[in-house]
């Protein structure tokens, strides 16, 4: 079974440890950034920041400031739109969960950026020094596939490993779902009753639980169906449509040809009979 992450924003303290650990493991350079109107920095994920913590301000019942911290990254959909749209198969879904990008294949069409409902694949329009990049890459969270596969002994993703309050759990998706359901059932006063990622886009490897409505903490309201189905429905009809159109064209051609020949024959017959009268 494929593995994933369960991110519990109720436990998150907003330390940004996951953000730093991710940068370190992926050797992502520092880039100049700025704060969002709240304390989110950088304002959104970019080609050099695969994981970033968003800060949402609310108010407690006593009027105090109430923060919600959301550690965002690729959702690693079970049926990823980006993988299905990539014309050269540069994006792939590995059987143990991660959605990864292969540099040697990518042609840079950016259809994955359009198709992703979570707005995740980023592009190196500029390098870390702010210079334009003539050979850009798609950059995104890899669910630390290289720590899971290439490290011996294999290690859990860097963000999960570093998280001090254990707000980012790594494990089998089924186990994580059970944990999430348990936590919501045990403290209904603390948690909003929704596991974001359980059904979104047909289910994702990364799951979120929170005290807030997902839309209030910046999660898009995406379709429940798996996204590749939207285009596959169209593509799977094509062979029949082409066969029908081909038959129509050939049929029309043959019919018109016969008619024109018949007409020509009739005309020549008429002129022949006229000739016989002379």
């Amino acid at each position: 079974m494929a593995k994933g992450l369960l991110i519990d924003t109720v436990k998150c303290t907003g330390c940004r440890g996951c953000q730093s650990a991710c940068k370190q493991w992926n050797l992502n350079p520092a880039v100049e950034t700025k704060f969002s109107p709240t304390m989110t920095n950088p304002p959104e994920t970019n080609a050099y920041t695969f994981v970033h913590v968003e800060f949402y301000e609310g108010t407690k019942s006593n009027g105090d400031l109430d923060w919600t911290f959301v550690s965002k990254r690729c959702m690693h959909c079970e049926h990823p739109a980006c993988v299905s749209v990539c014309p050269v198969g540069a994006l792939q879904k590995l059987d143990f969960g991660p959605v990864v990008w292969e540099e040697g294949r990518c042609i840079g069409c950016r259809y994955c950026q359009n198709a992703c409902p979570f707005d995740i694949p980023k592009y190196t329009w500029f390098d870390e020094n702010g210079k334009t990049d003539p050979w850009p890459k798609i950059a995104k969270c890899t669910l630390c596939w290289d720590r899971q596969l290439n490290k011996n002994p294999s290690e859990i993703p860097a963000c999960s490993k570093t998280c001090p309050p254990k707000a980012i759990l790594f494990g089998e998706r089924n186990d994580l779902l059970a944990v999430a359901k348990n936590r919501i059932a045990n403290s209904p006063d603390k948690y909003f009753n929704h596991i974001y990622g359980e059904e979104e886009a047909g289910g994702t490897q990364v799951l979120f639980i929170s005290g807030q409505n997902p839309q209030a903490i910046g999660f898009p309201n995406v379709e429940k169906e798996s996204y590749p189905g939207f285009t596959w429905e169209f593509l799977s009809r094509i062979p029949y449509e082409i066969a029908a159109l081909g038959a129509f064209l050939v049929g029309t051609y043959v019919w018109r040809n016969n008619r024109i020949k018949k007409k020509a024959l009739e005309e020549s017959a008429v002129s022949n009979s006229k000739g016989g009268n002379h």
Binding site: Q113, W125, T132, P134, T231, F234, L235, I242, L249
Partner: protein
């Protein structure tokens, strides 16, 4: 062969050369410094003006080629024979600049050949890539007799002639496939403004492209006849635009039915999108259909030019809305093209028009059109109008 009516360095000819050179400059800059240097694209706006034109306008404008080929070679309607050669040339040029534009718009342009051996058949883009490459080949083969005739290669002409009908049939199938797939590219973005996200958008794209292709052919024919003082077969063009109007009626019917049954009309408000919708559907589609329905308009040069230009405007807006603007609802930030993006876009069009001029001058493009006839000859044949 040299059509003396056609000047190589007229005012507009020079403008076209300069714009095409500008596009070459932008192409070089993109290759050296990358997309970030010449475009205003960003992670929030990965696709912009170039895609809207390459994918939406150039390739759709080329649809006149397969429609005319179908009318003459499959349906055997000889009336339209005089327009086949220019239509196929416009199609070949449209696809050429479309493919060139897509290549430059890729982040890693030289790798555009990857889909040839890196197959991913669940991707609509993969299918489009293959169809466009194959259809480009088909178009050059369909156009080749003009070149063979110019250089007296009669054997090649005979071979091509024997293959013409299979080629045309294959070309029509390919056109249907990828023109519809270009619309279906966006089935996967349901967050788009609903007025431009329809379940049948794939089919709507191919139908509207046919109408657009015929309009572009009409605009080209009228404008070139006027500026190069060629004779004009207005009677044929009236029929062409009647067909374009009927296709547009089918398109509008299907689109309105699709919008209604998917409940997307509820997204209509009198905001920017509402105005864009009214401009696109009302001014660019309904008004030209009404114009063409009027006999007086249909049979006058100015009337036809107006109607076809309005259809062009409507489809231009439709492609820009579908491919770029309607995605704004779920995106942050804004996008406005750089001056380089505009120069490249205009330069590709200008280059294609100049190539058309060269072909018209040196190839037997208008041989069936009685082009360049003296006025006296034209007068004895009432269907030929002098420019």
């Amino acid at each position: 062969m040299n059509n003396k009516n056609i000047p190589l360095f007229s005012f507009w000819g020079v403008v076209q050369i300069l714009l095409a050179l500008g596009a070459l400059g932008v192409l070089a800059a993109k290759m050296i410094w990358g997309l970030g240097a010449v475009t205003n694209l960003s992670d929030n706006w990965p696709w912009g003006l170039w895609v809207a034109f390459d994918v939406g306008i150039y390739i759709a404008s080329a649809a006149g080629g397969f429609v005319l080929a179908a009318l003459v070679y499959i349906f055997k309607i000889e009336t339209f024979r005089p327009l086949v050669k220019p239509a196929i040339l416009i199609a070949a040029l449209g696809y050429t600049i479309g493919a060139l534009g897509i290549a430059v718009d890729l982040g890693r342009s030289p790798l555009i050949v990857h889909p040839l051996w890196m197959w991913q058949p669940s991707s609509i883009m993969f299918e489009v890539a293959w169809c466009v490459m194959m259809y480009l080949t088909v178009l050059y083969l369909e156009f080749s007799p003009n070149v063979f005739a110019r250089f007296g290669l009669h054997r090649a002409e005979t071979v091509q002639h024997a293959l013409a009908v299979p080629l045309v049939t294959f070309g029509i199938l390919l056109s249907f496939l990828h023109q519809s797939s270009l619309g279906a590219l966006f089935l996967i973005t349901p967050e788009q403004q609903p007025l431009w996200h329809l379940p049948l958008m794939g089919y709507l794209f191919v139908i509207s492209a046919m109408s657009l292709g015929l309009s572009v052919l009409t605009i080209f024919t009228i404008v070139t006849a006027k500026s190069w003082k060629l004779t004009l077969r207005l009677d044929v063009l009236s029929k062409v635009m009647s067909i374009a109007a009927w296709i547009l009626v089918v398109y509008l019917g299907l689109r309105i039915w699709d919008t209604a049954q998917s409940g997307h009309f509820s997204a209509f408000k009198f905001d920017t999108y509402g105005l864009l919708y009214i401009a696109e559907v009302g001014l660019g589609m309904i008004v030209p259909v009404i114009l063409i329905a009027m006999k007086k308009v249909r049979e006058s040069r100015a009337g036809l030019l107006w109607a076809s230009s309005l259809i062009f405007f409507g489809m231009l807006l439709n492609r820009i809305n579908t491919l770029v603007l309607s995605h704004a609802v779920y995106r942050q930030g804004s996008y406005f093209p750089t001056v380089w993006e505009f120069i490249f876009t205009l330069g590709l069009i200008a280059g294609a028009i100049y190539a058309f001029r060269l072909a018209a001058k040196y190839l037997p493009l208008f041989a069936d059109n009685k082009a360049g006839l003296p006025e006296a000859v034209a007068k004895t044949n009432p269907v030929v109008v002098t420019a």
